[in-house]
Amino acid sequence: MTTNPPTSDVDLFADEVLLDPYPVYAELRERGSVVHLRKNDVHVLTRYDAIRGAIADWESFSSTSVGFNPMVNEALAGTSLASDPPAHTRLRAALTENLSPRALRGLKGQIEAKADSLVAELVEKGSFEAVDALARAFPLEVVADLIGFTGAARDNMLRWGQAAMQVLGPMNRRTTESFPIAGELYSWCSEVRAADLAEGSVGRGIFDAEARGAIPPDTAGHIIHQYLGAGVDTTMAAIGNIVALFGSHPDQLARVRADPSLVPAAFNEVLRFWAPVHAWGRRATKDIDIDGATVPAGAQVAILFGAGNRDPWHYENPDAFLVERNPSDHLSFGYGPHGCAGQGLARLEAHAVIEALARRVGRLVLGPEVRVPSNITRSIEKLPVLEVIPA
């Protein structure tokens, strides 16, 4: 027996929803664990348990449709992001070989030193625009050094990374305008050779792995594509969110300052409170019952990480930002076989930034933040820090 899920006329990718999706998330979550959005012809998953269950269950929820337009799903076919086991298992291993916490252990000190000197410089200046000066500058430097980018590629990372996420949206104006830019990234990655990357970099290591047969032939470029496509825009969003949330919650910054062992918990809470990824796709491979409603076989599904992260059935007082909560099971990195492959690097970067802020900043006085609607990544575009009260 099939029972149709509740429906809604919300447009998941309308400007006002992208700017502040949380009221819409709450409304949809109230309606049901799964809701059919007629305007998008998408079944959204809204509650914590439904989302975690779906991303663990790759047999029912295929990753062959992570994007919301057929063109991008076709372009991603054959990457670990967009494949299912058993093919996925091998691709994922190739991707994480040089990206897992194990592989990145040696970089911790370097990343911490970079974050500290950048934050020290900004505190010294006293006022700055935090998105360009920190949220973008820091991950761009880390990822560029990691992959070993030099020259033109380095200058293009920001726009390439943004476009790679934007094109996962439905075929709206944002997507069509971003396709040519995402295409530049794709062609650069298909032509890049070991010699183009700095010696001793992880990017060079990926080519070495290809040369010695540890990963399949012709996969090095794809892996670098995924580092850039998935890792740049999301990390920038998370670091911007760190500055904004600690600026607007000085009491929570004070708690981390008093007890720096709270840094990992604080980052979990930042990710829970504002998910960097708005919606992520799956395809139902069969009729699936979720809390009494049927997701029909073949349906395009959208996972709303941010809605699950504020589910009051899972988190007490979910709309409060509390660094001591330590929600280590938040959904922002996904979970299971497709759980964010770069989360180890993201943690290294974010922990380093939070530690540096907690060490050097007493309080931040923020001006109004500016947001620009974006299909998949939800981030702050401009965040003026008007004054730093030093530690």
Binding site: A56, T89, A93, T96, S100, P101, R102, R105, P264, S328, D329, F333, G334, Y335, G336, P337, G339, C340, A341, Q343, G344
Partner: protein
């Protein structure tokens, strides 16, 4: 009860070690070592917490 590790899936994120430091740890190479596999009622809480926080679902309890 027993903790079961799907080793090819483990990427060494280490969140399980934080949840259950007396049951498992990452060695110097960043590989997960299960110090206790068979566990009793007293360790059920931390063991289940370790399973729950593994970001890539590499652990289970049977």
């Amino acid at each position: 009860m027993k903790i079961i590790l799907d080793r090819p899936r483990c990427e060494g994120h280490g969140l399980c070690e934080e949840a259950a430091p007396h049951l498992m740890h990452l060695d110097d190479e960043g590989e997960l070592v299960l110090d206790v596999e068979q566990f009793g009622e007293a360790d059920a809480g931390p063991a289940n917490a370790a399973v729950r926080v593994c970001p890539v679902a590499a652990l289970r309890v049977a």
